[in-house]
Symmetry: D2
Subunit: 382 residues, 4 copies
């Protein structure tokens, strides 16, 4: 069944998404923003490829992590594909988290409309320096308990999809740790500020600055248990890192295939570019990087599907893949010469999208720090 969904996703992306992407050079805002999203998602529903990750009872295909991988990769083949299938950040991770933790009432009010694509959502964790970022312990947004609920105050930054989101999951410091809160976007005191002008352009709603000013959240808006926010963040982060890898693997494969076709058709020095040794080296290195990323991804997904936290394995897969994907796109660009650095091929806009992945979801340096510390503990204990 997954194989069939993979094939249909591939066809859907080719037929419906890539034409839009190429017309607007990968810029979802230029393509119409939320209106484009709604139109593409309707087409995806018609094609039977919408929401592969959403549980069946909520109207999706109910795929586990291992099965998601090839489907999300096909969706990622276009930088607008994840929006079309409703599997982009942060909605995809929020569906996962809410499905794990939300109360019946929260499911009805937040999860179900989100799963259907009726609304978008935000995940408000990151803060402007010196607040929570690579170091979550630096969290500054605070929730103060009041009669019947909590009052949240704080600044957030890089909140993906915030502009136009219907609700937010907000992380705030509480007396015994951190807690996640659900709040409607139109609740009093919730303000979405300017879009941070990042180099990527495929996320509807941008990466925004936000202010929470005396925002009241009733007790029914606490997501999961009080003070357990950091733990839930981990529940969300492991799989979310892996679905990022899946999507960007598709984008990197696209760049690679575009470059190989270009090189095979380009005559140079009495042969085709694809027959020259340095080009072959770039092509082979792309193949190796893509396969190694996929192999690490599948290993981590197998563990996640088995119910493990797999923090080490998702960290390793994310770190390797984020850098490998960037290398693949860079080599593809180089292979295409002047065409490669122009928007006449999709590589330049794919490059714009994948570079930040070495920062988003934890910079490589923070992952390496964590990987090293685990290794030292394991090996010195062994």
């Amino acid at each position: 069944m997954t194989q069939d969904l993979v094939a249909r996703t591939r066809d859907f992306i080719a037929e419906h998404v890539i034409p839009v992407e190429e017309e607007f050079r990968g810029d979802v805002t230029a393509a119409g923003g939320d209106a484009a999203r709604i139109r593409l998602q309707a087409l995806a529903r018609d094609a039977g490829v919408f929401a592969p990750h959403v549980p069946v009872e909520l109207g999706g295909h109910g795929l586990g992590m291992v099965d998601r991988a090839p489907v999300f990769e096909e969706a990622g083949y276009s930088v607008l594909g994840p929006v079309a299938l409703h599997i982009g950040a942060p909605d995809e991770g929020n569906v996962h988290l809410l499905n794990e933790v939300a109360t019946a009432e929260q499911r009805l009010r937040f999860l179900e409309p989100l799963a259907r694509g009726d609304v978008r959502s935000g995940f408000a964790m990151t803060e402007p320096a010196p607040g929570a970022g690579s170091d979550p312990a630096a969290l500054r947004t605070e929730a103060r308990q009041v009669e019947g609920g909590w009052v949240v105050n704080g600044e957030k930054k890089f909140i993906t999809g915030a502009d136009g989101a219907g609700f937010f999951i907000v992380m705030a410091r509480t007396p015994g740790g951190a807690t996640m809160f659900l709040t409607d976007a139109d609740a009093e005191g919730v303000e979405v500020g300017r879009h941070v002008p990042t180099m990527d352009r495929s996320m509807v709603g941008g990466h925004c600055e936000m202010t929470f000013r005396d925002v009241f959240v009733p007790d029914a808006g606490v997501l999961g248990a009080v003070d357990e926010g950091f733990r839930y963040a981990q529940v969300r982060l492991g799989p979310a890192r892996m679905t990022h890898v899946m999507r960007w693997l598709g984008a990197a494969r696209r760049a690679h295939e575009v470059a190989v076709r270009y090189a095979a058709g380009r005559e140079a020095f009495g042969t085709t570019l694809s027959e020259l040794g340095m080009a072959q080296q770039a092509i082979a290195d792309n193949e190796i990087d893509l396969e190694a990323s996929r192999a690490l991804l599948m290993r981590a997904c197998t563990l996640l599907d088995a119910g493990e936290r797999a923090s080490r394995e998702t960290s390793i897969a994310k770190t390797f893949a984020a850098e490998a994907i960037d290398r693949v796109v860079d080599r593809s660009m180089q292979l295409c010469g002047g065409m490669g650095v122009s928007d006449d091929l999709p590589i330049a806009w794919i490059a714009r999208e994948v570079r930040p992945f070495r920062v988003y979801d934890g910079p490589s340096e923070v992952h390496r720090w964590s990987i090293a510390r685990r290794a030292v503990r394991r090996i010195t204990a062994g």
Copy 2:
């Protein structure tokens, strides 16, 4: 004297150019295109830093290659600096070439106004595939000899600054090789087509497609000797590669300094980011890459100033520096995390400018091919 010009250039860039650059995020078209150029160049003249490379008799500072290096690096500290000082591609290289080869009449008509900045110019050599590109021997544009001159026909592509240029140096195939021709932009049959949408944004006049359709060039428009075009191209290319390196070194240093200041001010994990080992590794690697680029550049410039062709040395310096500069900017971006991938710091737009340098002026692969062949000849002969 050079030290003084370096200092004045640094001050000029900081005071007059960076504010414009930051307001328009490194996009010269957004900043006003030719109007911005004219305004900035007037300011540069007032500051006594205009045209450091132009011979003194033509109104410039007459610097040789070794002395140009630190001045151009200061100019490149802003991506709009080279426009302001009139030392950007292709004008800078065209001044050099015309000064070497032009007749007295050509000097008067083309070189002098160009040297003053009254007009801009184009260098029309590269062609759409499968024409001249990395492999100049593939040149397809042809010049047919007629009474009193030549008729040129062909397609060109990636012609920097073409839109708005006053005249062009055109490379065309002639019976015994290739020849360079000078033609006014408004000559009949000269058409500037669309801008190739490349990722860089700092060149006034873009990188354009062009058509030469039955363009008549009188004999007086032949630049240098008939059939000597490839040789003159080398005369132009060696120094032009080196001035590219100078300018991008400035841009890379800017990214590095911005990142170091950011890291020194950013608290993380109980210290400042700049005290963490992985950040220190990035900072040290940047220092090493910048110094090595500069050292190779100076070595090649010393040879050029001594009248040598220095093809090997300029190839090595260009190849190393183009890649090193790209690495420096990439590490700087990574050091700044989310800020680094946004236009809130200049690194993201510097990255956009420097990446194509690994393609422009000969892709790294073509330079490596040439470097290797020379090495094999030298070593097997030795």
Copy 3:
């Protein structure tokens, strides 16, 4: 069951093999050569860990490729472990090939004693330049058909384990292609020449030069069908590459663990070395390289166990792993400073063993060429 064999192998290596290895600094000849082999193999039999790859009916544990991986990795933890378990090159690959292709008589005469470790064997394919090497089509050794058999003439080089081997599988050109022949080491005309002084020291019998001078091989000595030698070579090579990866992964893990323990115990700059960021980066990169190698290996082994040729996947896994393993050992060496470049730790002799793996079993460059050509065919057809 595999888990149990993995654990017993780990214990066996620690108890019986590492003491010998450390005494003789990884040099199997210094340790006694074949005599050491026989002694260690007897211990392995007693410990129930001998010949994990040999079919059960021939006295081994009958593990498939996926199950071999962790067992061989444990054996490879010492550079003398593969000799002790009888899973080193070329015997391990020869058992595999003979088991696939040999006649009943050949099984009795060659395979069974080899499987028991009563004799060692050689695989005589590689030739001195300009003969068969990276380019098998350059094969120069020839077999001429005579009454009742064939007469083989040619030179071979880098024949692992040749000195002291009981028999050889020889690849020779035959009229319709290439053919494999089985010949006793004491057959007339078989000469083992000098050991090529390669940097590795863990292979009993060295890497030798050989001459086959009018060696008569009866028809019963043809291995498989005449003219099918290149095909069988592929049958042998895919799995043989992967068992190489398994063994070297163990060696690389050893280097990594030695380095991590060293770094955790070494005080420097007011903390331990393992807490310094640059050391953490090296440790994390080791973990990533080891996991990625393992993941690619397991992917290829899964396909091989399913009966596929998996040429692309074994090429990718071999190329990545050979380079990754070399990086891991190099970083481990660097972490240990002066100790790392001395034989006071095992890293220096592990380095000596793993470096040639980037050449043996096909240099990385040849694999990349093959990977690239497959990629171009697949993508341009797609």
Copy 4:
């Protein structure tokens, strides 16, 4: 004059040193140790190439750093060349230091015989962990002031050339810092222990463990001022790093040239290996790495000759060159395939020599730490 000395050195190395080196595969002990040294140095004297760095008044050629570079590079073309010319570590650096700091009496007694090659010397600074190493402040050897002099106690390690040295410069902690002492090798309490079995084999006298047990040094044996040891260590280290680079550049160039000649003569896939793109890439990268190392070296030497400390520049040059040289030798090895990893070519033993250079004279990580800290100070002050 330097050019002439360069040429004579090249000829001398080719004629007298390389034959010995190749016979004994780069192992100075196998070649006869001190006896070989004495014989080769006599030949060097006859050839007029002995001691290019020694002041003229002491019988040498008196070359400054810039002029030494090409001469030392030629000497380093053989791994035994520096021994032959008397320019190896630690004697070369000790001559420099003594010439700067020694008293008239010390010159007579220590410097003059050393300059003539009548004795060898040691520089006893590094200690076993957790003593002085990358972090000199960890110095544990102590000197206690007594009547008429000092008594030195402590352990040293990795003392190059100790076995057979005539005297030592010992670094020991004194009340106000650290002090350097001169002591004869046969003074009571000076013991040279085992050779640390490091991978390199070209240093006469090995890298030894040493014990100083109640060694009395009279006041006349204090080198320079009391408590100024760390400062003198810097005086010695900067130039010593650079002469290391010079010597190893020669070794790397040898590996490169051997590989290029091999590749140019090796037929493969219907052409020569040197015409294949991946080989050309390796060759070009070698050329680039060699030129960049040389350019950084010359920049640092120019500053040293001008009397500057040039700590930043020597650190950068050492760090880049140590890694670049290792890459050059590694690529050369890979180009030669099976031959490359054997002692049939000199590359394998050159590799053994150059790898430790990334550790000796300060590991790359410590240099990077220092480079980064300087950069942060400079840039945040700017």
